[in-house]
Amino acid sequence: MYALVDCNNFFVSCERAFQPELEGRPVVVLSNNDGCVVARSNESKAMGIKMGTPFFKVRYLVEQGRLVARSSNYTLYGDLSSRVMSILAEAAPRLEVYSIDEAYMDMDGVAADRVPGICSDLIKKIRRWTGIPVSIGIADTKTLAKVANHFAKKYKGYKGVCVIDSDDKIRKALALTPIAEVWGIGRRGAPRLEAAGVKTALDFIGRPVEWVRGMMGIGGIRTWGELQGRRMVEDERDEKRKSICTSRSFDMTLTDLDEITLRVSDFAGKCAEKLRDDGTAAYSVAVFLQTNRFRDDLPQYFPDAAIRLDVPANSTREVVAAALRALRMIFRSGYEYKKAGVVVYDIVDCDAIQASLFDFDQETRDRDDRISKVMDLVNTSGKNVLRLATQRPGHYSDGIRREFCSRLYTTSWSDLLEVK
């Protein structure tokens, strides 16, 4: 069985965890630069505020005191996410973290009748320990677990846990599920199906397999089978790399930061290229340096440091910038370095990254993608003809609007919660 755990209105819930006075009030979280609405509380949804609404359109509500806005505080959201995931990892035989606020627990090996109880306890525990409310959908396939999760969120009566574990329940749930809400179809795939008379997920599974293949190809058949309780979406991450390391010994020892910066930039660029090849992105970028351990007449130093990114990255620019930040943290002069390496890890599928996350500063991201693609093309010869001019880190985060940002409660000593 799969249990899909999804944090309710995650960004808003993170803000509320440290500002309980926001409970019950309409709250929105804004994108980078305070551009548009990327997360809403139930109360602000009820006011009719849509996802992606430009902030200037609802600013007057904030000024009138009818709406609370917060700038996005990814550092905080990332920290709370890893707390939630660590609690889940302890409870499930296997955990697949799908995005910052979603994870699949693979409950195979646990008696089916115990799963709902375990999940109810988890909801209480996560709320108590982290302040974050979550909902859980349980079913035999991931696609159905997603449907179940939707019901768990929508109807209070489920108390956060919805189980779809019989053919009868499947049919009832699918009849109430508009085709556009099905995982793998979505708003993009829905219009064609609706035009052909498929309004609900139940209509969809009623069509013969040949019809589905003709309409949507192999991907459609997967979804079609999954909705009927047949497992067809495997854990893709198993086939993909969990971390990627590019490291190399230097021809001669290096002492100069500029020289090492060049090498580390190359290694980071390689890692970014591999991420793009895999269709993945990484949350963490680490750098290590090593002196020559066979030269015990020389001082030895084997430092490493890791940078955790707010949003997973696979563009050359972002990965290189993070690697150079890490390098500057560990580099000390006076040593003869023999080897350096870059490791990217905490890898996620690109399509698992919430659309809303990728919307942030879309222009920069698109530009990065274009630059990266050109670099990939030119560099396919195996020689790194094109590389980035090394930039000062922080250059890109400077000047970003964050008028309503909460504190870095969990990561900065000067930002701790204050208690009277």
Partner: protein
Amino acid sequence: MSAEEDKKEILSPMMDSGVHAGFPSPAQDYINSFIDLNKELVRHPAATFFARVVGDSMVDADVNEGDVLVVDKSIEPKEGDMAVCFIDGEFALKFISFKDPSGDGPSVKASRPGVSYSILERQRMWLLPANEKYPPIEVTDSNDFTVWGVVTYVIKKVCTR
């Protein structure tokens, strides 16, 4: 730049060196010998947060402005615990008590028609400061109240240089 070196991909080397700790370094074997304050002071990492004391409501308990609190949200509050409470829009550092501080009042709430309490909810609760300047507060149904977390340690800087 040999092709072999290029292909070196380590599968998940991070797992055994802890969350965000980077990756194994050649010195990893020796790291266990450190005393790790995090391990000692943080029993439930997922539920533990730090907070800073502002003001003087707990001075008689030797908790002063600027001290750092280790707050564990996973712990069920009990009589006498120091806790970070959230009451009517503000965080307050108090001792939790289920006994009437004025002496011998009842320890359960007066029953009200039409309201059914669970055993826990029937229990009367007081928030006690450690400074006679401030009075104890009884938490009632009209308060917006939660125990945010129980304080497990107070970290105090004693050298002012």
